[in-house]
């Protein structure tokens, strides 16, 4: 099971701050595709991601127990 965190506009669009994907090993790309279908989110292909709190790329491998965070454009500071 993969933990997925959603923030800002993605959290509002999906209606959830945290969801789980039932998979044992997938790529970040596959997580994004699953999210798009499951929560009818607009295209996530430009959205940055972090796996276990480190920035990741679309081909980063995610395993069961990992946490994937979708990071829309940030605006801190």
């Amino acid at each position: 099971m993969i933990n997925i965190l959603l923030f800002a506009q993605l959290q509002e669009a999906a209606g959830h701050s945290q969801v789980t994907m039932d998979a044992s090993e997938v790529t970040v790309q596959q997580v994004k595709e699953w999210l798009e279908k499951q929560y009818t989110l607009t295209s996530l292909h430009q959205t940055m991601t972090a796996v276990n709190e480190e920035f990741a790329t679309d081909d980063t491998i995610v395993k069961s127990g990992d946490t994937v965070a979708l990071i829309p454009p940030i605006s801190g500071g």
């Binding site: 923030f7 454009p73 605006s75 801190g76 500071g77």
Partner: protein, 158 residues
Amino acid sequence: MEENLFIITDQPIRVEEVTKKVESRNAGAITVFIGTVRELTKGKKTLHLEYQAYPPMAIKMFQQIEKEIKEKWPEVQIAITHRIGRLEISDIAVVIAVSSPHRKIAYEANEYAIDRIKQIVPIWKKEFWEDGTAWIGDQLENVPYPSETPFEEGDKHD
């Protein structure tokens, strides 16, 4: 016990608490950046803001910024506190305190920190105007991500 140099909090930030963390007998200069909520951006009036963060990763990214700064300027000490939740006009969103034996570096390192915060620290700001709201995104192209109307370029203290 070591203090926490990097904090995400939903409470008002006390500037002197952040500054105190970088004080040192060997510091001749302390620079402090205080990011506050500005009312007007290009003539458009902000009513209030809301900040959201991914705290554990944000703290890691603050530590990453500290590491980068220590590589460039080994004698610098830095502390950062960022507030989340609802903020009103003039409220403090972020405080960055930097100390250094020499003042030039204290300015440079402080500005480096705020620039990097805007690039890599997962914190998001939602603007509330009279006629709508929007999550603001500077990271990719300095315009808000498509969300609610209105779309407005914005950065309360750019």
